[in-house]
Amino acid sequence: MKIAIASGKGGTGKTTLSTNLASFLAEEHEVVLTDLDVEEPNSGLFIEADLVREKDKFKMVPEWSADECILCGNCQKVCNFHAVIQLGEMIMVFPELCHGCYACSELCPTSSLPMIPKKMGVLKHFRNGNLNFVESRLDIGEEQAVPLIKQTHKYIDQQFDDNFIRIFDSPPGTSCPVIEATKDADYIILVTEPTPFGLHDLKLAVETMKELKKEFGVVINRFGIGNDDVLAYCNEEQIKVLAKIPNSRRIAELYSQGRLIYKEIPEVRAELEKMKDLIMGKMKEVVK
């Protein structure tokens, strides 16, 4: 069972929900929480666990060797991403721009651009009892989030079977990395706030999920602030509202200290309890 937690934009409480839900479920089940916001993973700030494994992650990029090169310029011509450029007698590769398509390498008449691994980030796996936590972090200056997200998925698939509830904290937005993070999920939880910004971004996220043909539900964070438009929209569109996390200054304070809120606020625990029932139900469907 794979659950992805996503939102149209950052700052809606996606990380709060992921970390609290994962820790709560881990009280009784085996859970793995994965932070796929590889540009700025920060679920880890809320989770106390021991490091189990740390792995550098690589992507394949071409490296020029001058010896056989006939300076035909074919490599520059075939790269759609301007990641190889001919400068006088030199071929330069810009690894940050390379998408690793192999075109320049395999179409070079003299095999002068072999593909070599280049480090793009680090994956860390932590564990505390039932709760596993995996995060990947892109190196500064690296621009391609998608390859690292793919490799992180692969790691999860290798390490954890269907008995684990696998929760993914997705990057915000509706662009490429989000699609990559959510496309394998069995169920998506969209987090939003009951405000005009929240509604606007929720609608974009809903469009995305419909395009991906995903089953999804909504969690309303900071419920009680703003207005009822998000609820009305969900009713109209027949979107399931899974939980309402109340608005409170106390929650903001706990969050600011990096603490888990469900442990101190019974209403939040009750909302998570509701979500657990739904997740366990879905889990049976998937395992069947």
Partner: protein, 291 residues
């Protein structure tokens, strides 16, 4: 013309509400650019009229002409992104997986593959309620490279500012530390960092400031909701001092932020309280720092 860029690392710090307030205070003299193209919200507060609209193309998508295809399988063999599944006996490009690298088209023996320019969104030039203009955009679903759209929005805003002889362009910057925020920052005269005193907020502030430093841009910082965690606030203030960042203001936790937004208003229109004064002072301080 000076360009002021407001960024925050991660979302939810009140960045857009503050940028909109500054745009409102600046009135006719300030051109607005919404570079948070992935989740553009500024238009909800600025009443744009969408006067001009244009498609934005970036990247390509492969398309297989089924009539010509001889099913040799070469394209599928070279595609590193598993973007050419065989569906009902036909080679079909999966638009969500295709990276637009163009490799398949180069190896197809009978040129059955064409690369189409990919429409990744729209951008707009609008008249807004402040009497000025705003450039904004909407990124399509699953689009890559919002960095290029950000660059487009910014360069348009700059051109308009110069044509109309405006002194200031204010930019609602992109989130994160990746390519879009790099595009937001390039060419800026001053950066306003909006943060909140949480462990993650402080962490994001430091990361995004690394980038600002690389560009060598003068920066100031607003600590929003400073009173939810005074300990972290104190640490942030220390950090600002050490890095020589102008400490623009501390703003209290105040639900007027949300109430104003719910009314479709900027905070300075909605609230007549202390918050309005603090934001007005901040704007004046920013203007002084830019000049």
């Amino acid at each position: 013309m000076k360009e002021i860029v407001v960024i925050s690392g991660k979302g939810g710090t009140g960045k857009t509400s503050l940028t909109a307030s500054f745009a409102y205070l600046g009135g006719k003299d300030v051109i607005v650019a919404d570079c948070d193209v992935d989740a553009a919200d500024m238009h909800l507060l600025m009443q744009p009229d969408f006067a001009d609209e244009d498609d934005f193309y970036s990247g390509e998508l492969a398309h297989i002409n089924q009539y010509d295809c001889i099913q040799c399988g070469k394209c599928k063999e070279v595609c590193r992104f598993d973007a050419i599944p065989i569906i009902k006996g036909k080679y079909i490009v999966d638009p969500l997986s295709c990276e637009g690298c163009g490799y398949c088209a180069r190896v197809c023996p009978i040129d059955a593959i064409t690369n189409k320019d990919l429409n990744v969104g729209k951008w707009y030039i609008s008249n807004i309620k402040t009497g000025s203009m705003m450039v904004h955009a909407k990124l399509g679903i699953g689009a890559d490279n919002s960095g290029k759209l950000v660059a487009k929005v910014k360069s348009e805003a700059k051109d308009i500012a110069e044509e109309e002889r405006k002194d200031i362009a204010i930019v609602d910057g992109s989130p994160g530390v990746g390519c879009p925020v790099v595009s937001s920052l390039s060419g800026a005269s001053f950066v306003v960092l909006v943060t909140e005193p949480s462990v993650s907020g402080y962490h994001d502030l430091k990361r995004v400031y690394e980038l600002v430093k690389k560009f060598n841009i003068k920066a100031g910082c607003i600590i929003n909701k400073y009173d939810i965690n005074k300990k972290v606030t104190a640490e942030i203030v220390e950090f600002l001092k050490k890095e020589n960042i102008v400490h623009i203001a501390n703003l209290p936790y105040d639900e007027d932020f949300t109430r104003a937004m719910t009314n479709g208003q900027t905070i300075v229109e909605y609230s007549d309280n202390h918050l309005k004064d603090l934001i007005t002072d901040s704007w004046n301080k920013i203007k002084r720092s830019v000049n």
